[in-house]
Symmetry: C2
Subunit: 452 residues, 2 copies
């Protein structure tokens, strides 16, 4: 018989991996709670009518579609079938699909439950999503997203709080980060000022390459894309923008002096920075004009978090969007959100070995099992240790002590309790520290006091 | 535009529902940890070759199958397609399906990771499963299971610990329960003693109806099913079995005196009861011969938990099985497990209103927002309150106070902080208790001391 396996791009999570993942999710969850965010969950399966057309043509192809149960051919004619057109077929034979992200289901949720929700709605959601992407290193077909959004409020205080949340989460993880910030309105203002509004993406992408390819090549690329010589000249101070955030803002104010939308973006940015300046931020916060994340989606602030001590893509991102729910017929719901990249955070914590020991330790104490008599003697004692809140196991069989010790080692159990004839007579427990190897007889009270 | 909806039989979970569900999952999780169980997770999608044939013919039909991405027709000839046979088609066009329970994926996990696992393996798993069942009240197409199993150990200490786990979980919930216990070997012994081994299920089902239809009708049903008159007479003491668990066992010892398997079952039961007697159990524990749960699957102990104060089916169940992984080519892995029914526990806790207030409360304190000046003044104060671990919100806009108070009410926030001109001058915060209506000025220190 073939050894069973799981689908490409999916993963099993072992106890140790789960302990790490729970540490990540719980940390994020705790911080969301501290800021008044509430959790929701949506079903894994959504109607395909909810999902299709929301992620572009490419996205539609990456949706996992579920074959209608019962007769999947009902409603399909022989002629239609003979075309063997997978897209047309799926449109008839599949009503449901697996969610592709948490944003579209959230938009659907807001519209469907609009009358039960008290706005502004601060929600977070930690659930897996599925994409029929080609699997490769670090890219999976099933992975978790950890989204937090505030919808139904235009206030920039929400942006400020999301920055605080990112700062607090990475502080708790012990990961040094730079939170990069941009504003879509500033980018629009720059493009407008150059008389090239439609080239906003090209311009941003080109600027982003400055470090890699140098100024001359950036300008050359802009020329190739069709930006006029005059516009390229005008753009030079933007490309070379440097200094502190406030110095950058001062320069931008001059460059964008005649762009209404550009100035609005600068105002937003300044509001946020002025507020954030009041906190003892642990993270760097940097205005970065090359941040173009989700440019056709975000309408105001754009965020991205980079780890300082590990070479890896952004580990969190987000921004403000104007019309979350318009696609479902409910206009005027603006919002701002962030999404923590759990898989990359997992990798960073692994590389930097930042997991706290407590988070990885499962069982605290293993009682060695010497046989039926000792076992019967131990059962009430084990119960008392557990009643003290100590995560405890009694090895279920009187196997060889070496095997039982091996079990403790494999499970990284830090303490082992040995109770044989002598200990039973003396009413003691020999407590062995598995890390130092040290062992000494203690009373039950001393044991619980030490481990609780 | 049509209001968006979700697939029949699936659910969204609102913040309040999520708080309740998290309370349930966290309670179960904490108790599993206390006993040294470790969490694993498996992917939502499994290869259909892993799932098919494991749940009977009916089960195969209830599997959600995922249409192969790319061209689902590749490898299918026109002739095959023209048959329009949904089962044959799915076998070619779908490689993956959604998991139907947690047991088969767990068996697959154990086989696949056998070399990484240190046995006995105490694992728990809390994840959703999907079944294309007809939805009805209390039956969903997506629902969570909370399974705990110990595999790779024959010791009955595992059964004892699972009983303790059930007792502890329902004690923590405040749900009064009866844990019913049976043993497949005793049922086999009874059927063997009657000379009707093949009628084990019929006999159990008939006895189960005693309370509902009375002794005469039970006997009549057995007669109809073909049980001999002699066997029916022999069965009478079993049907009328009563008294304490130990009295029942004494009677059974006589009845099953000549059945080796029956006596083995009684021995197992007695071992478990004798051990459990040593603990201060909060739940009733009752030997119930009519318990026939998963009879063609379990080989030893069978468990079922009934709530005493609510009319509802069993809220937890489980038992011992002999050969979990044989179907994947790895023999000799026996185990014992239980599964908490989260949805029914949710209903019971709702009906009895047993949720602790703390579990449902999200934000503890809302700061009213009176405008830009007050907002700027408050930001560092809010940060200090949060640093004290108090879940705090600052309303993001200077909306009408009534609206902000309404937000606090809707979110069940117990305290509101009011800081206007006067408070700013005096360095105080007016703290309002939203339940009593009482309000008084306090210092920041007093506030954090009161709420932390």
């Amino acid at each position: 018989m073939q050894k069973p396996s799981i689908p490409k791009g999916t993963r099993d999570f072992s106890p140790e991996e789960m302990a790490k993942r729970n540490y990540i999710f719980n940390t994020i969850r705790d911080v969301y709670h501290l800021y008044g965010f509430q959790q929701i969950e949506t079903p894994a399966m959504e109607n395909l009518s909810t999902l299709m057309g929301k992620y572009g043509e490419e996205g539609d192809k990456l949706l996992y579609k579920i074959l209608n149960s019962g007769n999947c051919f009902s409603g399909i004619s022989k002629e239609e079938l003979e075309e063997m057109d997978p897209v047309k077929f799926a449109a008839k034979a599949c009503e449901k699909g697996l969610r592709y992200d948490l944003t579209v289901p959230f938009a659907r949720y807001v519209v469907q439950h609009r009358n039960e929700i008290s706005f502004p709605f601060k929600r977070y959601q930690i659930q897996p999503v599925w994409r029929a992407d080609r699997p490769q290193k670090g890219r999976y077909r099933e992975f978790y997203q950890c989204d937090g959004d505030v919808v139904g409020s235009d206030s920039l205080i929400n942006e400020v709080e999301l920055i605080q949340i990112m700062d607090e989460v990475f502080h708790r993880f012990g990961i040094r980060v730079c939170i990069k910030m941009n504003n879509r309105k500033i980018l629009a203002g720059i493009a407008e000022t150059l008389g090239a509004s439609e080239m906003i993406v090209d311009i941003t992408v080109a600027i982003d390459k400055l470090d890699k390819i140098g100024l001359d090549n950036v300008n050359e690329e802009l020329r190739t894309k069709g930006l006029s010589e005059e516009a390229i000249q005008k753009l030079q101070p933007v490309i070379m923008l440097s200094g502190s955030n406030h110095e950058k803002i001062d320069s931008l104010k001059q460059i964008l002096a005649h762009s209404e939308i550009g100035l609005k973006g600068i105002n937003e940015l300044e509001f946020i920075l002025n507020r954030v300046d009041k906190f003892a931020m642990r993270s760097q916060l940097e205005l970065d004009l090359t941040l173009a994340r989700g440019l056709n989606y975000y309408t105001g602030a754009i965020f991205e978090v980079k780890a300082l001590d590990v070479q890896i893509g952004s580990i969190t991102g987000g921004g403000r969007y104007d019309n979350l729910t318009g696609v479902f017929g409910m206009d005027g719901v603006s919002g701002v959100g962030i999404s923590f990249g759990a898989d990359r955070i997992f990798d960073v914590l692994n590389q930097l070995e930042l997991y706290p020991k407590d988070a990885l330790q499962t069982t605290q104490l293993l009682f060695i099992n010497f046989g039926e008599k000792e076992e019967a003697y131990l059962l009430p004692i084990v119960a008392q240790v557990r009643a003290a809140g100590i995560r405890t196991e009694l090895y279920p069989e009187s196997a060889k002590v070496k095997k039982q010790m091996g079990y403790a080692d494999a499970k990284k159990i830090p303490f082992v309790a040995i109770v044989g004839e002598t200990e039973m007579n003396e009413g003691k427990i020999t407590l062995k520290n598995m890390i130092t190897g040290e062992q000494k007889p203690v009373t039950l009270e001393e044991l619980t006091a030490q481990l609780a």
